[in-house]
Every structure is written in C-alpha cells, then in structure tokens.
C-alpha cells in the first residue's frame, strides 16, 4: 500500500514540494531503499551486488533527490505504488554506477568478486572489535545517557520524539547526543581502536548537496 493511499492531503502537499510532506515520504521509505542498495538485487538473470558502504549514502541521496524533483513529483499520480517508483530509480542508479566502475558483466553464479570478499572479511573483524568496545562503553553509561542511546540511535527516533519520551528539552537531547558521541570516541581511543574508527569514518565521507537553489 502506497503511503499516499487514503491521504490526499499528503499527496497534494508532496506534489507541491512541501518539505514536511517530503520528509514524511522520505522517512517512510528510506530504510527500505537503503536495504536494497546494500543487499543488491536480481536484474533478469544477473545478480547485481550491493553497494559498498561508501557509496550507499551517495546513491541514497541521489535516489531521493531525483524522486523529489519538481518534475518527478508533479508527474506522480498517487495511484502507482510509490515504493516501486523509488526502487526503479535506486536500481538504475546502482546499475549506472556499476557500469561506470567497470563492473559491467556479472556472473550470476560467481557472486561477489574475490577482492570485495577479502576486504569485507577485514572489515568484519574491525567492526567486531569496535562493537565489543562500544558495548563495554554503553554498560558504563548513566541511566539518562543509556536511555538517549536506546531511543535516538537504537530506535532511530527524531530528537523531538526523544525529548518528549524523556521529558527533557530538545536542547538537552542535542547536548546529550554530542556528549555521548564524544565520550565514545574517547573510550575507543583509550582502548586503542581509534585507527579502526577512522577507517570507518573514511568509508562514510560526506557529500555536499548539489546546486539548484532558487
């Protein structure tokens, strides 16, 4: 069922480009599209592998930027399943990127390339160490900070929702969030995992938004 079914007001706001409506649609579909990008998909008889982590953010942003363009919004009639529309955009972007990177031919039986598998193994080890250290860090947090982590990061709630759930101000939530991240960084540095953290950071390089401002 599309998000717009039975919600004409949302559809009209979305087509008009209302940022809150766009945000509503985004939050409804973003996790689904991210999973698609990471897992890959079948294209006919060919298996298209998932994207490396460094590319997921870029393609996710591109997917929604295209889907939310004025032409795309105005052209959407609200009847077709919106998920299918987003998936088509995402898949085309993944295929285009694979072609640009030279991964043109896919052997459905071979699966992932060997190089990618080796790199993945190293990353799994590092990720495991980081996660273990993080769990150790979390066990040492006070009640308030632990609740913030649970609501904001584990349950992926907005700052506004977290503030309401914890009966604190949004400013307090922002402050706590920054403190917890800083404290985790210090903890990882103390246990000698700052290099692994930096490696994780390098794979998540930010990409600025494009031009196109009025």
């Amino acid at each position: 069922m599309t998000i717009f079914e039975g919600n004409r007001e949302l559809l009209l706001s979305f087509r008009a480009g209302d940022p809150e409506a766009l945000a509503t649609v985004y939050w409804h579909y973003v996790s689904m599209i991210e999973r698609l990008l990471r897992r890959g998909f079948q294209s006919g008889e060919v298996r298209v592998p998932g994207l490396p982590d460094a590319d997921v953010r870029d393609v996710l942003q591109d997917t929604f930027t295209r889907a939310f363009s004025a032409k795309a919004r105005e052209g959407y009639d609200g009847l077709r399943p919106y998920a299918g529309y987003l998936i088509r955009i995402a898949r085309n972007l993944v295929i285009d990127r694979a072609r640009l990177q030279g991964r043109v031919e896919y052997d459905a039986e071979a699966g992932l390339h060997t190089d990618a598998q080796e790199e993945a193994a190293d990353e799994v080890v590092a990720q495991g160490e980081l996660q273990a250290a993080t769990q150790q860090f979390l066990r040492g947090l006070d009640t308030e900070a632990r609740e913030l982590v649970r609501l904001r990061f584990e349950q992926e709630r907005s700052q506004e929702d977290v503030a309401a759930a914890m009966s604190v101000s949004r400013r307090r939530v922002r402050t706590l969030e920054q403190r917890v991240r800083r404290a985790l960084h210090e903890h990882l540095t103390r246990v000698g995992l700052d290099a692994e953290l930096a490696h994780e950071h390098d794979h998540g390089r930010p990409r600025p938004s494009g031009g196109g401002r009025p």
Binding site: S13, A16, G17, D18, P19, E20, L22, A23, Y26, W27, V30, S31, E34, R35, R38, D53, V56, R57, L60, Q61, F64, T65, F68, S69, Q127, Q131, T134, V149, R152, F153, E154, E156, R157, S158, Q159, E160, V168, S169, R170, R171, R172, R174, E177, V180, R181, L184, H185, L197, A198, E200, H201, G204, P206, R207, P208, S209, G211, G212, R213, P214
Partner: protein, 213 residues
C-alpha cells in the same frame, strides 16, 4: 556531522546501516536541492509580514538585559547564562539552518521570569519580518512555561518572503504584554555588539541566527 560522528552514531545504533543522524543529514541535503513549495493562502495564516525596520543581519546570540537585578550585569555575547533562543527547522530538527519552503519553530530556554514574547527577524537587506505578535494579536504573546525549555507556538513558513540567506531572529521577552511600538523601542534600546548593557524596563532581548538555503 563532523569527523567521526557518523561512525560513532552507527556504533551507538548497534547496526552497520545508516544511523538516524546520518539519515537526517541526507534528508537535509535532499531538501536543499528541492524547489520550494509555492506560496499558498494556508501559509499566510502562519505568519504576518510588515514593512522594514532596517538592520543589518547580526551574528549569533545577543545580550540578555536583566533590569530586575541591579547587580546582575550582562551575559556576554555568546554566553550561556540567561534566556536563550533557538530556531529549529521542523523537517530536519536542524538548529539555525533550514531550507526555503520549510517551517521554522522556536525554542526558548531559561526564560521563566518572563511571561510574554515577541518574535521577529531581519533579512540581509534589512527587511524586518514580524512573526509574533500578528497585527490581529497586537501585543506580545504569552509564554506557556512548562519546564526550563519552551517550544513556542509561533511557526514560520519560509516562503517567498524568506529567500536564501542569513537571518537574525530576535525575541523580546517581557513581564507584561507589549505593543509593537514598545517592542521596537525595547529592541532598539538593547546593546549591540561591544556590549555594555544597561537597565531598562523588565524586558530582555535575545537573538539567534538562521541560515536559509
């Protein structure tokens, strides 16, 4: 987010996928590339625009003038004592930045000694934009205190009167309802940069900056 914040956020989420803050960052970038919604009559009902008062856009927090306590002195510019104002983008929860077409909300902190507030903003070209009180309201609006932090009911749609640029949002806090003339007078009496500070009636002026893209 800066530095290792993305990686730290993912570790805290316990999943290798994008964290909530990362997804919010992506949404902000997406909205920055989207053409704003066209002006509509419903948007008009959320705010009222008047003519110019004229002031150059200033940066960040301003003084808090505390006339009730003769020994209080003044909080330095950018200090954390006294009332504080934050402008929050409704769609992304970002503080101090939003996209054209979006909606701004306002948070007030540590302002319990004041019962009323007026809100307005200055564009880079000096044009003043009244947010509260509206012409119909006439006087500064009551603050419904509920804890140290208050989310004001005033919301502002960033339509064609809010082109991309830097804005100074000002709040005049008072212990009684003020007319627009009194609000202007209180604001014009407040110290500018190079703070000195002085005693006035029971009002305080605070500012914050917003960047609209």
């Amino acid at each position: 987010m800066e530095g290792n914040d993305r990686a730290l956020s993912r570790l805290l989420s316990g999943r290798p996928s994008l964290s909530r803050p990362e997804k919010e960052e992506i949404l902000e970038a997406v909205l920055a590339d989207v053409e704003p919604a066209p002006r509509s009559e419903s948007a008009r009902s959320w705010w009222a625009v008047l003519g110019a008062v004229g002031a150059a856009a200033a940066a960040t927090l301003v003084l808090w003038v505390n006339p009730g306590d003769p020994d209080a002195g003044f909080a330095a510019r950018g200090g954390t004592e006294g009332p504080q104002l934050a402008a929050v983008c409704a769609a992304t929860s970002a503080v101090g930045r939003c996209t054209a077409g979006g909606e701004l909300m306002f948070e007030l902190a540590d302002a319990r000694r004041f019962s009323h507030v007026a809100l307005f903003a200055f564009r880079d070209d000096g044009t003043a934009l009244w947010y509260a009180p509206s012409e119909q309201q006439g006087t500064s609006v009551p603050i419904e205190h509920d804890g140290a932090m208050v989310l004001l009911p005033t919301k502002v749609r960033l339509d064609q009167d809010h082109p991309p640029g830097r804005y100074t949002v000002a709040a005049v806090l008072s212990q009684r309802p003020l007319s627009r003339e009194e609000i202007r007078a209180a604001y014009e009496r407040s110290p500018g940069q190079g703070i000195v500070g002085r005693r006035t009636s029971d009002t305080a002026v605070i500012e914050t900056e917003v960047v609209i893209r």
